[in-house]
Symmetry: C3
Subunit: 173 residues, 3 copies
């Protein structure tokens, strides 16, 4: 058991299940009481979501159909709290506690083929994690954007979308 | 010996030697019988390559001259098989076996200065690894694209290529 | 103490403090005698900086105001020198020395809203690290660009900058 590697993989599973629209796997990365604070968005006010169900519902609704997303995460800076009663590590075992915090850089790409737009941006995640029954999950996810920009395909007449994993998925109504 | 770190570095060496066109170093990341399944491509049908030699030859031919490539990999989710006869880990040594599987996200950029085009995309790799004589190599590499798009420099008259590591390398004929 | 993880986090702190313009935190990632060799730049000759103070001053001046930067780093290939007198590891302790080298891939985005330009590129860092009083710092940072391109917003009339963390920061004079 290596908590640091467990938490890294948790975050990678978050990004992969989100981008591959595997909503059951996506739900499983969150604690039931998880909160999400996705900061400003291209299309709306600051977005705060409360509870695993609300987070998953929001994403499933917002990112369904043939919308393409890539959330590309790296640069983990993770701090695991020491276990209770082990703060001084006097016994040298330096045991991991059951909560942790982490910062990540990410770049995201969102392509909405039906609206002929592409959104690109970057932000630093500031997450919290909690271990329950030996399993690390995300208890809070949040970020403040470094930047976000949107451009229309109309400005690039030559642009061809050569591959879209979701091309055969009809647009959601 | 840390197999997880060895496999991560193997993958990073794959990306770096590919983008820096160091074909001998690139060849050395693959087992001799390695297979590659690079999914749909901008310019062709699904691409399947068999054997280290075929993979290296294909890349050397396709990506020579002054073509710029960046394969940027992150988000490793690696599973190392337990060593044979150690499946239950009853002895607690939890020894690594000699095969592993891994998933990675990547974003790629391909710039073909002579054709004035840029290709951008992302996919999830699904790789297999094998350890022979203590050295981990890639035995299979594959991906399914999340998206891939191509745009011509003609749509961006202001675009300047300020640096190209391969600028002095003549286009391959 | 895990030197490999310490050095990875050092590099992530470099990128994060640079992009978030936290100059005190940025200064602290370098040894006092650190050198930087940032290769060719969009706007100037090859850039070589000597000493922590010069590196920090350069960045603070070049990247102030409402300029947006993202330095996105991944693919660490880090070699830690063995401790002196431990080269043969005959005693099996394989102790880490106090110097290390590392290669990283990165992609950078620079947006200068006031000049309506965006610069994108990629390079491989070739860094050196040194441990002093138990703390790893960057003693040399350098890269050779794979590519760098610049494009004006004027070519994309639809482009909207939806978020800029530095929007309220006045342009530096």
């Amino acid at each position: 058991m290596d908590s640091l590697e467990d938490i890294r993989r948790l975050k990678y599973r978050y990004a992969r299940s989100l981008d591959l629209k595997r909503w059951d796997e996506f739900a499983d990365v969150f604690t039931e009481d998880a909160t999400a604070d996705y900061g400003t968005r291209a299309t709306s006010e600051p977005l705060t979501l409360r509870g695993r169900e609300q987070i998953v519902s929001y994403m499933r609704d917002a990112l369904g159909g043939n919308i393409i997303t890539v959330h590309f995460c790296a640069q983990p800076e993770i701090e695991i709290a020491p276990s209770v009663g082990d703060g001084d590590n006097a016994d040298g075992d330096n045991a991991d506690g059951d909560t942790a915090e982490g910062t990540w850089c990410f770049e995201d790409t969102v392509i909405v083929p039906d609206h002929r737009i592409m959104i690109k941006g970057s932000a630093y995640y500031e997450d919290r994690y909690r271990r329950e029954n030996g399993v690390w999950r995300i208890s809070h996810i949040g970020y403040q954007r470094t930047y976000e920009l949107m451009v229309s395909f109309d400005d690039m007449p030559s642009l061809q979308l050569l591959a879209n994993r979701w091309a055969d998925v009809p647009q959601q109504v």
